[in-house]
Symmetry: C2
Subunit: 394 residues, 2 copies
C-alpha cells in the first residue's frame, strides 16, 4: 500500500496550475496572486512629516523662528526660506529646505513665531520610497491576498490584480443509502453530508464546488455523472471505492476515461482512496465514510487545489503536541486523529476526540488539528509527543 508521503507526491504530479484572471482589488481578498505585483510608484511618494509639528532647518536650531507657512496634508508647499519654520501636519509634504520636524509637544508655539529646541536631521521625517521604491517587488506571485496585502496593493494603485482562476470542483456522491439533505432518511438511509462539508472546504481553499448529485450503486449511474464532472477542473467522488460488492467507482472511472494512478493509501481513516487523471482533469475517488473522506480531502485534495491555484504554501503548519493519555496504535497505517489543542506555555497539548471512528461526525466538530501518528510509529506513552497538523491558530 502507498504511504501517505508517496500518495501526496503523486497527487501533486496530477495537477497543474490554472490560468490567471484579472479581478478588482475589492473582489480579490482570499485569492492567490498569479503574478508579482511590482511597485509603479514609491511609497511615500514624497518626503513628508511623521508628526503634527514644525518643519525647520536643524542647523538653525535651537531658535525662535517666524512661522511663514502652514502645510496641510495633500498640498505641495513652497520652499522654506532660511531662518523660518512652517507649521506642518502629519503626512504633509516637507517643504524644500526643511530637514527636520519638531513635534507640537516639543515646540513653544506663539502663533506668529515658534520656539524650537535642538533637533537632528531627518527627525520625524518619512523619506520618499522608504516603505517601497518604484520598481521594487511589492507582492510575490503565489501570495494569498489578506487585508495587509490589500493595503499595500491599494496604496500602489492596483485597482485590479491578476489572480489564479478559481478551480471548479465537481462532487459526485455515490451510494444507494444516500438521500439529499431535504429528505428524511428511511431506516438504513443517511444524508449525503459529505458533499456539503466538501463544498464548504473547497470554498475555504479558494475553489468553487459543483455538487452534481448522488449516483446510485450501478456502474452506468456513476459513469454518467463522472462524464458530466469531467468538464470541471477537478473531480471528487465519494464512496464506492472500497472492495465491497457494490463498489463500482473505480471501474466507472476507468470506463469514463480516467487513468487511475493509485488506489489505497496506508492511512486511517481514509485508506480506500484512489486518484488519477482524465486528460488534464485530476480525479480523486474519496472513501464513503464521511470522516475518511474529509481527512483524505485535507491531506490530498486541499494541497492539490492550492497547487492548482499556484499558492506559495500548500501545507498546513505542523507542531509537536503532547498526548496526555498517549495513544495505542497497531503498526501498518498512519493514523490521523481529530483533536482539540490547548496551549500550556510553550507546549501544545492535544485532547483526542474520544470517538475516532470514521463514521463519527461529532469528531470533526470544533477540532483544531489532525494528530498524525506515522505508519512506522507505534504506541505513544501517556505524556508522549506526536505531530499535529494545525487546522487553525492555537
Amino acid at each position: 500500500m502507498l504511504s501517505v508521503a508517496e500518495a501526496a507526491a503523486r497527487t501533486r504530479a496530477l495537477v497543474r496550475r490554472l490560468p490567471a484572471e484579472e479581478v478588482a482589488l475589492d473582489d480579490a481578498a482570499g485569492r492567490i496572486l498569479a503574478a508579482d505585483v511590482v511597485a509603479t510608484r514609491s511609497l511615500p511618494g514624497v518626503d513628508n512629516s511623521a508628526m503634527d509639528g514644525f518643519a525647520a532647518r536643524c542647523a538653525e536650531l535651537p531658535a525662535t523662528l517666524p512661522v511663514v507657512a502652514h502645510v496641510p496634508a495633500g498640498l505641495v508647499p513652497d520652499p522654506l526660506p532660511p531662518g523660518s519654520a512652517a507649521r506642518i501636519m502629519t503626512g504633509a509634504p516637507l517643504p524644500e529646505g526643511a530637514d527636520t520636524v519638531v513635534m507640537f509637544e516639543d515646540a513653544r508655539d506663539a502663533g506668529e513665531t515658534v520656539e524650537l529646541p535642538p533637533s537632528r536631521e531627518g527627525a520625524n521625517i518619512r523619506r520618499m520610497g522608504e516603505d517601497i521604491a518604484a520598481g521594487e517587488r511589492a507582492l510575490d506571485a503565489g501570495t494569498r491576498l489578506g487585508w495587509g496585502e490589500i493595503a499595500l496593493a491599494a496604496a500602489l494603485g492596483c485597482a485590479r490584480v491578476a489572480v489564479t482562476r478559481r478551480p471548479v470542483v465537481a462532487i459526485v456522491a455515490t451510494g444507494d443509502e444516500l438521500v439529499d439533505i431535504g429528505t428524511v432518511p428511511g431506516p438504513g438511509q443517511v444524508v449525503d453530508s459529505t458533499a456539503h462539508a466538501l463544498a464548504a472546504h473547497i470554498a475555504e481553499v479558494g475553489g468553487v464546488a459543483r455538487h452534481l448529485g448522488i449516483a446510485r450503486d450501478r456502474e452506468e449511474d456513476v459513469i454518467a455523472l463522472v462524464e458530466q464532472a469531467l468538464g470541471c477542473d477537478l473531480v471528487l467522488t465519494t464512496g464506492g471505492v472500497s472492495a465491497g460488492d457494490h463498489d463500482h467507482v473505480r471501474s466507472a472511472l476507468a470506463a469514463a476515461g480516467v487513468q487511475l494512478d493509485f488506489w489505497k493509501v496506508a492511512m486511517k481513516p481514509g485508506k480506500p482512496l484512489a486518484a488519477g487523471r482524465a486528460g488534464h482533469v485530476p480525479v480523486f475517488a474519496l472513501p464513503g465514510n464521511p470522516v475518511s473522506s474529509l481527512v483524505a480531502f485535507e491531506l490530498f485534495v486541499r494541497p492539490a487545489l492550492l497547487t492548482m491555484l499556484g499558492a506559495a504554501g500548500v501545507d498546513r503548519p505542523r507542531a509537536p503536541v503532547i498526548l496526555p493519555d498517549g495513544y495505542k496504535k497497531p503498526p501498518g497505517r498512519a493514523h490521523y486523529l481529530r483533536a482539540w489543542v490547548v496551549r500550556d506555555g510553550d507546549r501544545l497539548v492535544a485532547a483526542l476526540h474520544p470517538q475516532q471512528g470514521s463514521h463519527m461526525l461529532t469528531s470533526v466538530v470544533g477540532i483544531d488539528a489532525l494528530v498524525e501518528i506515522e505508519a512506522g510509529g507505534g504506541d505513544i506513552e501517556p505524556g508522549g509527543t506526536a505531530t499535529a497538523i494545525l487546522l487553525r491558530a492555537v
Copy 2:
C-alpha cells in the same frame, strides 16, 4: 490615557448582538450559529456494519454457516435466522438477530456458505446513536460553521440554519490628501488604501463593508458622510482624529449625534483612536496612518464585530515568542509589532519587521502575528520572550 485592556472592555460595552436570520446550510460556511443545533435524529440512525463482511450470532461461532442474505447499504434486511450468516456491506443495517460482523479478510467465503472464526459481541458494529442521539445538542450557538460543523449539521438534516445577521460596516475615510484607488496621486497625495484593507478584514470577520467615500478635512463634509453611515450597524472613520489643525472628526461625530466614550489609547501604533455610540450604532474613529488604523481594527473592531455576531471566541490566540534581537521600548504605551513567526520545536521565534513605522505598509504584508509589548514592559533582551497575538496558524 486609557490602557488597551480598558479600551477593549469599553469597546465590548458599546456593541450588542445582532438578530438572527435563516440561511441555507450551503450558504452558511463561515457564519456564526445564532442558536444551538439540537439533533432531531440519531446518528447512526440504526445499528449498522462498520465493515464489508458477514453478520452472524457470536454465540454460534466458530462455524461454517449458510449465507442466507445479502445486505447492501440503504435497505432494511429481514431478520437473520439462527444458524445462518448474512453477507453485509459497510453502513448496511444489521439484521435483527445478528450481534457481530466478521470482516471479509477474516472469513473463508465459499459462496453459499462461509467459514467464520470466533468473534465478540458488537465487533464491527456501529450502534444507533453512538455518534449523537436524538435530543442531544449537536452544535452550540456562537460556533463558526466550518466544514466539520457543516458535515454534522448536514447529516442531521439541517437544510437551513439560524445564523447571526452579518453586520454592515460603514467606512468613512477623511483627509484632503486622499485620492481613490483609480486616481494617480499628485505630489503629496496618497491613495485611500486603508478603506480597501478594512473592507477585506471586515469580510474576513463576517461583516459587509460599505465604503461611503472620502470626506475632505472640513467638519461639514465629515458630518454629511457620518450621518449617512449611521444607517449601518457599525461605523468606522479613518483619519482626522488626532490633535492636528484639520482634525475635525471628533467634533463632526459629536455634531452627528455620536457620544464619544473614549479618545486616545496608550498604544503604538494606534494612539489617536476614539470610540463611542450613536443610539445603538457603535462608532470607531480610527487613526489616519494606515498601519495604526489596521492595528486598531485588529485590537478593537474585530472583537466588537465578533461580539455583534455572538461568536463564542472573540480573541485571537496568544502564544509566547522569542525575540532573537530583543526590542528597545520606552515606557508609557503598549507596542504592537508586526512579525513573522517560525517554529523551532516547541518554541515560536518572532522576526520583527525591520520597519515598524505606522506608515510602512510593507510591515503588514505576510505577517503572522502582532507581538505585544505591554505598556508597563520595558526593553526585551536579545533572546527574551514576548506575547504574540497570532493572526494565523504557525
